[in-house]
Each structure stands twice: as structure tokens, then as C-alpha cells.
Amino acid sequence: MRISVRRIWRRLARERTAHIALRTGIGLVFVYASLDKVIHPDQFAEVMQDFEILPITVVSGAALWLAWLELVLGILLIAGVWVRAAALMVTGLTAVFIVGLSIAFTRGVGLHCGCFSTNPGGDVRTWTSLWQEGLLLLTCFWLAVQAFGELTRRKQGSEKIETDDEAVRA
């Protein structure tokens, strides 16, 4: 019975390592992506205006908020705090970003994504470069699945351990 408990613990530890690596990686991406936006919120507002999706009235406020939201989410993921909520939010943000890019492309608007830099001289995004955002979305979604899966496993694992302990005691 003890071997079985150890096996469960090892498996949990293995999965936790992969999960920690995944959330830290995505967290670092979001922190890095937010830094230039936090430093230059005015230039990020210009990038957001170029998407031509939000009303001009709210663009500056939305740019300020999004820059800090990305930073906060990145820090939460790295620190391992509220990971499920953060994973959901980064998945949602990335999905919204992809929809925004697609709408802009459909309208024929050529734009710089403002992903990691607010420099207007950066690379112009196209339909063919969407795979990068798609890859990030898949990774974020997988993190969310992992985060909720870990919760379920932890519950099942603790129930199993309790059952094993009861069996040992018996």
C-alpha cells in the first residue's frame, strides 16, 4: 500500500513540474509583452486605435487597463497564485486578440500587433502570421485544462491517499 501512495505522489510531482514550467513560461511571455505597454501606454493606445474596433472614447483607458492586466496576469502565473483564474483570463485575452486581428485583416487594415513592442516601425501582421497567436492560444488553453485537471487530480489523489491510509490503519 505504501508503494502505491509513493507512486501517486511521484506522478503528482512529475505532473506538477510540467505544469509549473508551462505556467511560468506563459507568465514570462505576458510579463515581457506588457512591459513596453506599461512604459509607453500612449503608444499602445495608438496601436489599439489602429485596430479600429473600440470606440475612440475608450481606447486610451482600455490600453492602460490591458497593459496592467497583462502584467498582473503574468505575475500571478509565475507566482502560482490564482492560476486557474489567470489561465482562463490569458486564454480569453489571446482569443479576443486573435478575433481583433482577424476583424482588422478582413477590413484590409494593415497593422502592427503591438504584441511585444509599441514601436510603429515593427513587423506588419498578416493572415499568415496568425499561427503565432494561434500557438499561444493553444498553449494558454492547455494551461487552463492542466490547471483545472490538477485541481480534479488533487481532489482525487487526496481521496485516494485517505483511502490508502485507512487501509494501512485497518
Binding site: D42, S60, L64, W68, A85, M89
Partner: protein
């Protein structure tokens, strides 16, 4: 697999709504606090004008119509600056204008500032009414210390509509 994962993820996500809302509200509060001490101090809501344009910068330049712009162009002290893409500049521009494109500002600025002093009166223009490139470049130049910045309201479209002269490079003329 996905038929199981997605519905259970949605069901579990509902539990996270309070935390999601907390993260959103805290981020907004931090953003507002940080903006209050940031040198740019953006207006959260832009009633009119351009997003990303701080009030203190907006108050330091003004827009003129095409006729007033023509008077400025005739003044030899005034430097006319084309903020459109270099390809459009090379096709035609306002006589005497130099190119400082918004897309590529960081790359072109060192050359610009080496030849134009910060006290030089500047007239900036871009494509048309909805084009905010002149305002964006005006903001960057004011932040970098240029003191006399004016933009052409309505851009090159207004200039053309007023039947004012345009300069077409020799290569284009020869074609």
C-alpha cells in the same frame, strides 16, 4: 476528448468568476493609479481628439487649415514635415517638405534631429481628415523638445482640395 474537456472547463470556470473579476478590478485600479504618476497622464476617456494623446501635449500644438498652412509654407523659417510613409512621400508632397514617417519614426528621427533644430517652427501633415499620423508625430517631437509644432487640418487631401501646389520628384515627372 474535447467533448468532455470543454463543458467541464466551462462548468469549473464559473467558480472562478469572483477571482477573474477581482483580477480585472485590481488591474484597473493599478492602471489608474500608475497613470496618475506617469509622465504621459492619459485621459481615461477621450471625448474628442486622439487616443494616446496626453492633454499637456495636445495643448502645445494646434491645427491650421490649408490656406494658413500655405502662408506657413511660404515662410522660409518653417520646416514642412511629411509624416506619411516614405513611398507616398516620394510620389508627391508639399513643396520643400522633408520626410519623417510615423511608421519608422525611431529609425528616421536621428537624421531629422541632426538637421532640424528644436526651435525650428514645424508644419506637420499626413494623408487626410481621419489620419492621425501628424498628431502622433507631433506628440513625439514635443516630447523630444520641439517647441513650435503645427499640424495641417485635413492633411494632404485638404491641401489638394484647396488647389495648392504639390511637388513631384524629378523621376516621377520624367515618367
Amino acid at each position: 476528448m474535447w467533448k468532455k474537456i470543454v463543458p467541464s472547463l466551462v462548468a469549473l470556470s464559473v467558480r472562478e468568476v469572483p477571482r477573474v473579476a477581482t483580477v480585472a478590478v485590481v488591474s484597473l485600479a493599478i492602471a489608474i493609479a500608475a497613470n496618475a504618476v506617469h509622465p504621459m497622464q492619459l485621459p481615461l476617456l477621450t471625448a474628442k481628439g486622439q487616443p494616446g494623446l496626453p492633454r499637456w501635449v495636445a495643448s502645445r500644438f494646434h491645427a491650421v487649415d490649408a490656406q494658413e498652412a500655405m502662408r506657413l509654407v511660404e515662410n522660409p523659417k518653417v520646416m514642412v514635415v511629411d509624416t506619411r510613409d516614405t513611398r507616398d512621400f516620394s510620389q508627391q508632397h508639399i513643396p520643400g517638405a522633408i520626410s519623417l514617417p510615423y511608421h519608422g519614426f525611431n529609425e528616421h528621427y536621428p537624421q531629422f534631429t541632426a538637421s532640424v533644430s528644436k526651435e525650428t517652427p514645424l508644419l506637420l501633415y499626413c494623408y487626410g481628415t481621419g489620419c492621425g499620423l501628424a498628431g502622433r508625430v507631433a506628440k513625439r517631437l514635443i516630447i523630444k523638445g520641439y517647441t513650435e509644432v503645427t499640424t495641417l487640418s485635413g492633411g494632404l487631401n485638404a491641401w489638394e482640395a484647396a488647389n495648392l501646389p504639390l511637388e513631384t520628384p524629378a523621376v516621377q515627372k520624367g515618367q
